[in-house]
């Protein structure tokens, strides 16, 4: 565009604002992170954006438009509902059901004792076994979960953090027993401990040993499990805890920078592990903001990897992400309204260029989803994939004055936050100082006040309410799961080779006390059917435990 055109457009915009819009009354809108949204965007708002440098082409630096050149024309996203509950048997049945319905990847939800490294018979596990995910006490449970599922043909994501190395070892062993080598496996472990300290809470070990476990996994997988995504750095839970869209990306990138630094400090080459970094974010209600968020994140991550870390492999620059629609946006009131919310959020995720997606089910403000509700949610993805034309071209929102302007503004705001965290000494130091937690809490409280004052409309909850009967037909987890797991554990401990268990755990202890990679001894312990709790206890004794703090 030539200079004169821009000047003319600026003049015309001024005129329109004064003579046309100015004669009407209208509401001023602002994003949650304080940007005033203009009533109208024009080419004037994108004049500082250089197409070739800032936007570019799909599959090329800086990847603003997409990580892959053909995007959904080449391959649709992986439809991957987050699921798992009760026993390994029930979860195996749910997975087979979802795959029959056209789901294309698995995402394993583990119960809280598993996520915190307690066996089902631990006193702190009482009441929690099988509730928010499937209970895994040993390799035997993982064998059941994946029974009859060909692991070389599926990709599996596991939401597991503190004991990620152990669950990964179990997965590799199940595959080996199916006759599948580790080099053929596709999947992801979350393995993102920093956000457990800030918002999610399933930590076990202190920061130092936790980072060692993570970098040991990076190193091991770069040699033996090359297609595995070794970390899935998570903004999802920060957003659920109240972070704004800008904070979500900023704090997640700050965590990521900490992990990359840890990998480099452990002696790894950045291009050896950076291509296996993956992400999970939260796709919330503000449609355009969500699309711009993902475009900004792609561009900024590419710059961080190239400019800050000197990565030279284009795959290290590439931001590939999984997203789930926002659980916290679902209402318990008039739950069917959530079908609509999920559909819009799913659409935003796809227009934002997601590689993998879990859509929530409408009943999830009340309980774990039923077969019917999760199928409807999967169908929502399938309708967007096949019926409405949004997958027919790459980044169809690119070039919109509003989207491009918002993308740039978000990138700037995210960069400011990352600078602030750098000044505090990086993400781990910022977490220790409580900075990230405080920022998220402030946003959560501000949001709540807006909802309660009616400034933010939540349909069916603070507006348009109706008297409604109690919801029916919700999923209930069998209260006997705990007893079933404890019985299985007892049997396991009488049938396995207990001497082998002891010798492998001793070998693990010695490795933990030294500096060698922890994966090989963990794999040996897993193969001997050492339980998750026994294995974590050895590491607890050597590493100690993280002490959580909380300030309000």
């Amino acid at each position: 565009m030539i200079e004169e055109d821009i000047e003319k457009i600026q003049e015309e915009t001024k005129r329109w604002n004064r003579d046309c819009l100015g004669k009407h009354t209208f509401r001023k809108r602002e994003t949650d992170w304080g940007l005033e949204i203009k009533p109208l965007y024009t080419v004037d708002d994108t004049k500082d954006i250089n197409y070739l440098e800032d936007i570019g082409f799909p599959g090329e630096y800086p990847f603003t438009r997409a990580p892959h050149p053909s995007m959904y024309l080449g391959k649709l996203w992986t439809m991957r509902q987050y699921s798992g509950y009760g026993t390994a048997d029930e979860t195996n049945k749910r997975y087979k059901y979802l795959l029959e319905q056209g789901q294309t990847g698995l995402s394993v939800a583990f119960d809280l004792p598993t996520q915190i490294g307690y066996d089902s018979d631990h006193p702190l596990s009482q009441g929690e076994v099988g509730k928010v995910g499937v209970a895994v006490d040993s390799l035997a449970d993982m064998e059941t979960i994946f029974n009859g599922l060909p692991l070389d043909k599926l990709s599996t994501s596991m939401t597991i953090n503190a004991p990620a190395a152990i669950l990964l070892a179990m997965y590799l062993t199940v595959a080996e027993k199916q006759g599948i080598g580790p080099e053929k496996l596709n999947g992801t472990i979350q393995n993102d401990i920093l956000k457990e300290y800030t918002v999610r809470g399933t930590y076990i070990f202190p920061v130092g040993p936790s980072l060692r476990l993570i970098t040991d996994i990076f190193e091991y997988c770069s040699k033996y499990v090359p297609k595995w995504n070794t970390i899935n750095i998570a903004g999802y839970h920060m957003r659920e805890a109240g972070a704004t869209a800008v904070q979500e990306i900023a704090f997640t990138f700050a965590d990521a920078i900490e992990y990359v630094n840890a990998g480099i400090k452990a002696g790894l080459r950045v291009d050896d592990f950076a291509p296996r970094i993956s992400w999970i974010f939260n796709t919330h209600n503000n449609f355009f903001e969500e699309i711009a968020k993902y475009r900004a994140a792609r561009r900024l991550w590419a710059k961080i990897m190239k400019e800050r870390f000197g990565a030279s492999d284009p795959r290290s620059w590439m931001f590939r992400f999984h997203t789930q629609t926002a659980g916290s946006a679902l209402t318990a009131q008039q739950p069917l309204n959530n079908v609509v919310r999920v559909a819009f959020q799913t659409l935003a995720a796809i227009l934002g260029g997601a590689q993998s997606l879990a859509s929530c089910s409408f009943d999830e403000a009340l309980a774990l989803p039923t077969e019917e509700s999760v199928r409807l949610s999967l169908r929502t993805q399938q309708i967007i994939a096949h019926e409405i034309g949004v997958t027919d071209t790459v980044d169809p929102m690119g070039g919109s004055f509003y989207i491009e302007s918002l993308t740039k503004k978000m990138e700037e705001k995210i960069t400011d936050y990352i600078k602030r965290i750098d000044e505090l000494g990086g993400a781990a130091a910022a977490i220790e100082k409580g900075y990230i937690q405080q920022e998220i809490q402030e946003s959560a409280y501000r949001y709540q006040k807006e909802v309660e004052s009616g400034g933010k409309v939540v349909v069916g909850m603070n507006s348009y309410q109706v008297e409604e009967p109690l919801p029916k037909g919700l999923l209930k987890v069998d209260t006997e799961v705990g007893a079933i797991q404890i019985k299985k554990l007892k049997e396991l401990k009488t049938t396995r080779d207990n001497q082998k268990v002891q010798s492998t755990l001793l070998a693990l202890r010695k490795t933990a006390e030294g500096h060698a990679n922890l994966m090989p001894p963990i794999i040996e312990a897993v193969k001997a059917y050492a339980t998750l709790g026994e294995t974590c206890d050895v590491l607890r004794e050597v590493f100690g435990e993280y002490e959580g703090t909380s300030v309000i």
């Binding site: 809280l112 004792p113 996520q115 915190i116 307690y118 702190l124 596990s125 009482q126 009441g127 929690e128 509730k131 928010v132 457990e196 918002v199 999610r200 809470g201 399933t202 659920e240 805890a241 109240g242 916290s328 209402t331 318990a332 009131q333 403000a365 009340l366 309980a367 809490q441 959560a444 409280y445 709540q448 309660e452 939540v458 909850m461 603070n462 109690l470 919801p471 919700l474 209930k476 987890v477 209260t479 959580g548 703090t549 909380s550 309000i552």
Partner: protein, 134 residues
């Protein structure tokens, strides 16, 4: 109770559940309304919660849980409160607790269960009304 004394509240997260956005938001709202609020932090055992209630001499305990373990944890907390002679503390629950489970929890002495979407003013009013009656 003495109207001059500020209401003392323990906001507690029993069990292994780490979701404490709601607990923290409620804690801030109650504090802003003039109450004294103590937050336990996440991953508290029933014993830790009851000890904190005793030491802090609270008038009410708010239990926030989203993991589905209320069926074990709430009865245990109520039992310990009675054992320690704290049976007169007003106990309220919040989080994701199915309606079907509410009658059983009320039978144990939990005064009320609040679900998602409740406004903090509703809770503040409930606490003030029920403590002044007590």
């Amino acid at each position: 109770m003495n109207q001059d004394k500020r209401i003392r509240v323990l906001v507690a997260k029993p069990g292994l559940d780490g979701h404490d956005r709601g607990a923290k938001v409620i804690a801030r709202a109650l504090r802003d309304s003039g109450m004294e609020v103590i937050y336990t932090g996440i991953r508290q055992t029933p014993e830790q919660i009851v000890d904190a209630a005793l030491q802090e001499d609270v008038d009410t305990i708010l239990l926030s849980i989203l993991s589905g373990a209320h069926g074990f944890l709430f009865p245990r907390i109520m039992e310990l409160l009675k054992e320690k002679g704290l049976g007169d503390i007003l106990v309220l629950g919040g989080g994701i607790i199915p309606e079907d489970d509410v009658p059983e929890l009320k039978k144990l002495g939990v005064s009320e269960i609040f679900g998602p979407g409740m406004s903090s003013q509703t809770l503040i009013n409930y606490i003030r009304e029920n403590l002044s009656q007590g």
